[in-house]
Symmetry: C2
Amino acid sequence: MHFFSSNFTLGILGGGQLGKMLLYETRKWDVYTKVIDASLEAPCRIACNEFVQGDLMDFDAVYNFGKGVDVLTIEIENVNVDALEKLEQEGLTVYPSSKTLRTIQNKASQKLFYVDNNIPTASFTRFAYASEIEDSLSNGGLQLPFVWKSAQFGYDGQGVKIVRKLEDLEHLPNVECIAENKVDFKNELAVIVARNSKGESKTYPVVEMEFHPEANQVEYVICPARIEPEVMKKAIAVALKVSESFNHVGLLAVELFQTQEDDILVNEVAPRPHNSGHYSIEASYTNQFEQHIRAILGLPLGKTDSKVAGIMVNLVGAEGHTGDVVYENIDAILEMEGVTPHIYGKKQTRPFRKMGHVTIVDEDVKKARAMAQKVKETIKVTSH
Amino acid sequence: MHFFSSNFTLGILGGGQLGKMLLYETRKWDVYTKVIDASLEAPCRIACNEFVQGDLMDFDAVYNFGKGVDVLTIEIENVNVDALEKLEQEGLTVYPSSKTLRTIQNKASQKLFYVDNNIPTASFTRFAYASEIEDSLSNGGLQLPFVWKSAQFGYDGQGVKIVRKLEDLEHLPNVECIAENKVDFKNELAVIVARNSKGESKTYPVVEMEFHPEANQVEYVICPARIEPEVMKKAIAVALKVSESFNHVGLLAVELFQTQEDDILVNEVAPRPHNSGHYSIEASYTNQFEQHIRAILGLPLGKTDSKVAGIMVNLVGAEGHTGDVVYENIDAILEMEGVTPHIYGKKQTRPFRKMGHVTIVDEDVKKARAMAQKVKETIKVTSH
């Protein structure tokens, strides 16, 4: 059924900010949409045609929701995959597939997938329980330091720790996990691959994550990455290989390390629009959200080139502030040319909570980078 | 009150397609919005925070709606101006002002405004009734041919007729009207001016309306216009003067004629986002909808330059088709690089009904123009 058909419904699992940005694009083409999320306060609620309250990890909630749509996609990976599998068996179009989601949801199986498919990644050991790590260290199977990652639900720092000495093991939860070689990298890069059901692929330019020298936190996502053309080529080839290996349909954001030897290693992937592609709203011919919709609806993929250079700065809550949010100096950044703030509409801030992002575009990436620094130094997310 | 305040509400009179595109931008900054429209099927209903059903020409409906918002704007000019005036007297911020709207709503008073403010426009005569025209012709006060325009509610062709001979007068409605000199123009141009309450102005590049050689209908809006720099300068100066004369706040789209002698004459204005600025969504650093919001909320105005050249093609219903709409070959145009269709979501088509628009962007305006022609020849809005 074509998406212009008056009976067509696109279903989205998850009602967060990524879903909201996806929904803007469905409006442009008048695609009828239905969203499920546990929270009645979900950002998507206002932007979809129909909203259903339900737990994304609950089999029945996801299964019943899926029975009422024609194509089903996600804006968050933590959903009930068994329900998706049953829906697929019953003929529903689900992108990303349950198989891909199952592999990605578990970091151990994700890493094994890379190994099985000959995709370069940092070497690692899988443990059923963190308590097994000490044995492995004492018998020489594992060396310090390493990166510990919980296999399930490891999000932004919470499920990731660098283990430098034995004592660091003490506070690890005793769950399935991996111990990964600490990669000595020059740059952290990302490539977004769009792929449709016909197997057609397009890649966005390689972006670079610039880290704060002390805080070890991504400060800027820079497009294009300021790296050698040869490294770009290699990064794109690896990202394409990952997308093809998953036989993926939709967007796949592939996070990569560029090692000191200019090798490219896959860090992890997200099978959906991604923070590293937010710059595309202002900078690209086809933004990542429109591209995801094109891919999952079986439409031709759009041009992924950039009109201008783009830099994204995450807007996070300032330290020492918890409560009703205030965006200090937002007028001052609106005064800078080519600067677009995106405010996610969360009413409460807390330290490091993601409250929005700002995109800075300019023909000259150096000028954009300088402006991004000014933006970062100017706007502050505080509280009353 | 700053628009980020949790109590702030932006009100929009009218729930049509322009309002919907305006609402996308409010979402980006999480501005709380309330819309009033007579139809429960209004496109805005899905994109605003609160929707009120009400007649825009009804004093009480508009007045009561206005009492519940902090800033009030419009997406259509035909609204009850008396209610806006009362709201202004009671302290509400209303952009465009009731005074400006009152002047613009009546084409005779709009033309008189240009004369009073020394703004170049085609010469004209005002008639309280169309029946007075014949007398004026017979006593030599008026010559054939001329352009007849009803003073009120003259929309796209319906309120405009070219009178070449006496018999053409027969079918004119006997209402207040103007008879305007038929301008022999080289080009029809438009300039969008953004102006905020501090009196700061920014102008978008001059765009050109390219007409179908036979059908006398705008086929393409082209940015930048393919005209001499001197003519561009003149057009921008005239547009700025119009905006300042109205002491306007918000967007003002100024439609202009470039005469055979390269004089610039004002045709008419629209005090809101406008069809001639749709290209800005894909081509400009700041699109017209974001700019309107910046202007009426007292924020700094954004950069109006283009990242790339942009061409807009209106999608209108094909002749001979009335009923459930079908967008033939939409996949084929999605395959062309830099082409973005915007589908307004009207379920029924009829000949010449405006169903959407398509934007074509490219670094080279000539390449974009050639592609626009291909788009126009490919996509067809028909019915089942």
